[in-house]
Each structure stands twice: as C-alpha cells, then as structure tokens.
Homo-oligomer: 143 residues x 2
C-alpha cells in the first residue's frame, strides 16, 4: 500500500483493515455493542497480542475507538469509515442496479463488428484502439 494523498490513504487503511476475516468478525461483534479486548478475543484461537494488533489496525483506520476504564479497554464501533466506503461504492451502484446495461452493450457488440468507427460513439472503446491511433497520441487518457 503506497501512501498518496490523505483521502486515498485513509480509504486504503479502511479497506486494508476490512481485508482480514478476523477483523471483520470483530466489527460484527462490536456492532452488537461495546466489548472488552478479552471478549473480542474469546471466539478466536488467537493470542491476546494478536488481537491487540488487529485492534490497532482497526483503530488506525478509525473503524473502532477504545475507551479506558481501569485496566479495561472497551472497544466500540465507529461507523464513519464504513459510511465512507459506502459513499465510495456509490459511484459503482449503477452497475448492479441497472443490470441490463452490460446486456445492452453485449447485444450492440454482436450487431456492430469491431471497427474504428466505434470510437465515435462516445460510450467508451469496446475494442482496443488501433496501434496507429495510439502512436498518434489519440489514446484515451484514463482518469
């Protein structure tokens, strides 16, 4: 994971934190309410230091916060990063909510043989640009 600017970096931290099944299970438990470190460790055949490391990852991603009461460190879920993930997902929601869009493109592809004229449709290139077009610097620059 390479750090770029702050927003991307934070989102990367969140996704990385969610990439471990143990950490997702910890979040699921905290969704039911605050819990202590040993409560969270209960269901896993892991050492306490291992749980402590997972919690540090979750904390660094802002997914949990830890209180402090005597020797206890109660953990609670912080939903803001999950909301950020949901917001990020928003840009792709159309892809599964309009499930016919891929079928449309496929049908159009069957009717129109691959040719350079497809570039003019503005719908994104279905066929890779020709080498000549790339050589002329006409390749579409990805965002």
């Amino acid at each position: 994971m390479v750090k770029h600017n702050e927003p991307d970096d934070h989102l990367s931290l969140v996704f990385a934190a969610l990439a471990d099944p143990t950490r997702r299970a910890i979040l699921a438990r905290l969704a039911q309410g605050e819990a202590t470190v040993m409560e969270l460790a209960g269901p896993f055949a892991l050492s306490l230091p291992a749980i402590s490391k997972h919690l540090k990852v979750l904390q660094r991603a802002g997914l949990i916060s830890q209180g402090r009461k005597a020797q206890w460190r109660p953990c609670r879920l912080e939903p803001a990063p999950l909301q950020a993930v949901s917001a990020w997902l928003g840009r792709y929601r159309q892809f599964w909510e309009e499930s016919f869009s891929r079928l449309d493109e496929y049908l159009r592809e069957l009717q129109e043989p691959a040719s350079g004229d497809e570039r003019s449709t503005g719908s994104g290139s279905e066929t890779p640009p020709s080498p000549a077009a790339l050589r002329n610097g006409e390749g579409a620059a990805p965002d």
Copy 2:
C-alpha cells in the same frame, strides 16, 4: 490475510484489492468503459509489470475480467464483488442512517451509573463486566 472459508476468503480478496489507491483508480477508469493495459497504465508513473500485477490482483478478486484480442488484453469492470461489499456493508447501514442511536445510548449512560444491572438490558454491555462475572464464566461470548 489468513484464508478461512471460501466466502470470507473472497471478501478478503476484494477488500485487499481495494486497499490500494492505484487499483481503485484503475476501477474508476474501467467504470467509464473497457480499456487496454497500456491505457490503464497511462496516468501512473509505474512500470508495465507493476500494472500487470495490480491487474492480476483485481482479476483474482473478480473485480475485473480480461478479454483477449490479438496482443491486446482489454479489461472490463465486473461489479459483482462490489455488490457483495455493499451487501456486507448493509449490516452496518443502520449505524449511519439512524444517527441518533449512539446519542440515545450516550444519554442513557449518563442517567444510569455503571453497574452490573446493565447486563440485563440486553442492549450489549456498556461497561466491561466485573472481574467476578468473568471468573464465573458469565462473560458474553462474542459472535
């Protein structure tokens, strides 16, 4: 990332793939339409092998698929894994859509001093269980 069972393993692959800003940018570009490897590499000061590795990660997570046309390997977005993420997020959606739930708990906590009787509310322990309760095996087993 430790492999457990298949569903968790796949979700972990997806989150891990999304944990890199370059890969998220690649997905954003593919959301606009199919693109070649070199088109995807264009905006990044990365070598082609680095892009190739990123694409392999995305492919293994099922987030993209790659076609084959001559020497071209056009990539397209596959939204199903993103939908799976959205579904997983669903269990936490209440946390930010009902933004008063945390305030309610906070106010209740102010009115009821920390005591063992809070265990009987079934709303999850706001205060860590007492050492005696833990010793008696009454600690709540996390999911």
